[in-house]
Amino acid sequence: MSDRGVIAVEGFNPPIPKRRSEPAPSVIESVPNPINGFFEWFGSFGIFSWQVFKAAVTPPYEWRELIRQLDEVGSKSFPLVALAGAAIGVIISLEARYSLTRFGAKSMFPSTLVYSVIQVMGPIITGLIVCGRVGAGIGAELASMKVSEQIDAIEASAINPYRLLAATRILACILMLPLLTLAADASGLLTGWFAQSLVEPLSFHQFIASGFKGATFNAFLPQTFKTAVYGLIIGLIACFQGMRTRGGAEGVGRAATNSVVLGSLFLILADVVLVKFILVVFP
């Protein structure tokens, strides 16, 4: 270009060659193949997860964004999670009292409530609530950034979007899920005791002492901290769905929906594996 002359460009002078004739797509190629799509999704998800992992463990670390995301995932999910935990506490209290009374095991009520809330309902309800609120939020936010080229702009500014956008959100989900689960558990136990004490007066101290009698840390800690895995699943899937979005508003909507649907599905499947794993490792 520096000589400022007309450059005879290969392929034009002599005239531009016609585009390489492309073979017409075969019937197999032209029909959307769900099996290919399935493997393509998992392949892309694996590559994405590896990119995020690499970005997360190498400096520079995005502390400021991580703190913002901890607030976004943790503090802002707290009221919803506490409310859901409270509702679960009341429901279990009502159902358990009826069943235990029928079988003459009313004295088992505190431990039934404690074990039901902390081991089963608290973690899964927290996971699903956070998946709905945070998963949809992350999916929609990143998808919107993707379709408006904001993620490309971040990359063009020499900033790794996997580090800034994905790693921070996923890490926030991992760190906050166990804490939110504790909040849901506490809320559920409180309302469960309250519902019970309205029918049959029982001090909170007595309720806790009876509920946790003979319990070890192994009975509760693995169940609470397994939610870190839920956080990983929620964050990874939402970030992946958001950052691979194509299309405009429809693509954004689809990313948000898929983040919640796939996140919930994988969360429940993971719970099956984790429950078995915990039973084997922490008998």
């Binding site: 270009m1 450059i7 460009v9 702009a153 996997y162």
Partner: protein, 262 residues
């Protein structure tokens, strides 16, 4: 009659000696699915020069810019930035090269949750850790003043017009003092007055900073104003590359038709 650009270039003439290519694109090919977008493109841009890439919609002009900044990966061929081939570089290594490049997106791509000032400060916050908050603030004001947006520091991108968004996008692209500036349709969708203002602004910045620039545009008038040379793309090939006069004198039918319709 000599244009403002001709006068400016004459004044800048002595600095042009000894310039080496900053961006060199060789035999670049890119395919999306079954569509060949670029069919072996060769281009180069020297320091202080502006190349305008023209062509019909869908001829791969924007893809060329995205390849140069590494947002897409070429199928074959090479893109050399200061002699280093960037094709296939890892994200973090590519980041080091991108710090020398500024990119103005077609729709500005401002971060919609940040104010105008925060948008411009964004690259500085991440790459100029040595700057204090007040130094960064001053730099942002200076950059926004350069693009005539000093009065909109606290506004959100949604509160300003398309032309203003492009100005802010340009200020953000200039934040790290790039050696290479890539502009994707800087005047698209703007009224003639705003287009002229953006052209003047690019020309002014170009003369002051002596960057190597590549401008993708449909706007022949704008290309003629801001570029030293023009490259016309069709069906993934460079049909002609030269000055505006070279294009006017060309006997190639497509070039004649393009100039006639523009």
């Amino acid at each position: 009659m000599a244009t403002a650009y001709d006068i400016a270039m004459k004044e800048a003439e002595p600095e042009q000696e000894g310039r080496a290519p900053v961006v060199v694109v060789e035999n670049l090919r890119k395919t999306f699915g079954i569509h060949n977008v670029l069919n072996g493109i060769n281009l180069s841009v020297n320091r202080g020069e502006t190349l305008a890439v023209l062509g019909r919609s869908g001829t791969g002009k924007s893809v060329l810019l995205r390849l140069i900044i590494g947002l897409e990966t070429p199928d074959s061929g090479s893109i050399r930035i200061h002699g280093q081939n960037i094709a296939g570089l890892a994200l973090d290594r590519m980041g080091e090269i991108r710090k020398k490049m500024g990119f103005l997106f077609q729709h500005a791509a401002l971060y919609d949750s940040l104010t105008v000032a925060e948008n411009v400060a964004f690259p500085l916050v991440h790459h100029r850790k040595d700057m204090s908050g007040s130094e960064r603030g001053e730099r942002v004001k200076q950059l926004l003043a350069e693009v005539g947006m000093e009065g909109s520091l606290a506004k959100m991108p949604s509160d300003i017009s398309g032309g203003m968004q492009k100005r802010v996008g340009l200020a953000r692209a200039l934040a790290l003092e790039p050696e290479i500036l890539l502009l994707d349709e800087p005047t698209a969708g703007l009224d003639p007055i705003s287009s002229g203002e953006i052209d003047d602004l690019i020309l002014k910045l170009q003369l002051e900073r002596q960057m190597a620039s590549i401008v993708v545009t449909h706007d022949l008038h704008s290309a003629r104003t801001i570029a030293n040379s023009l490259a016309l793309l069709d069906q993934g090939n460079v049909v002609i590359e030269g000055t505006f006069e070279d294009l006017q004198e060309s006997g190639i039918e497509f070039v004649k038709e393009f100039l006639k319709q523009s």
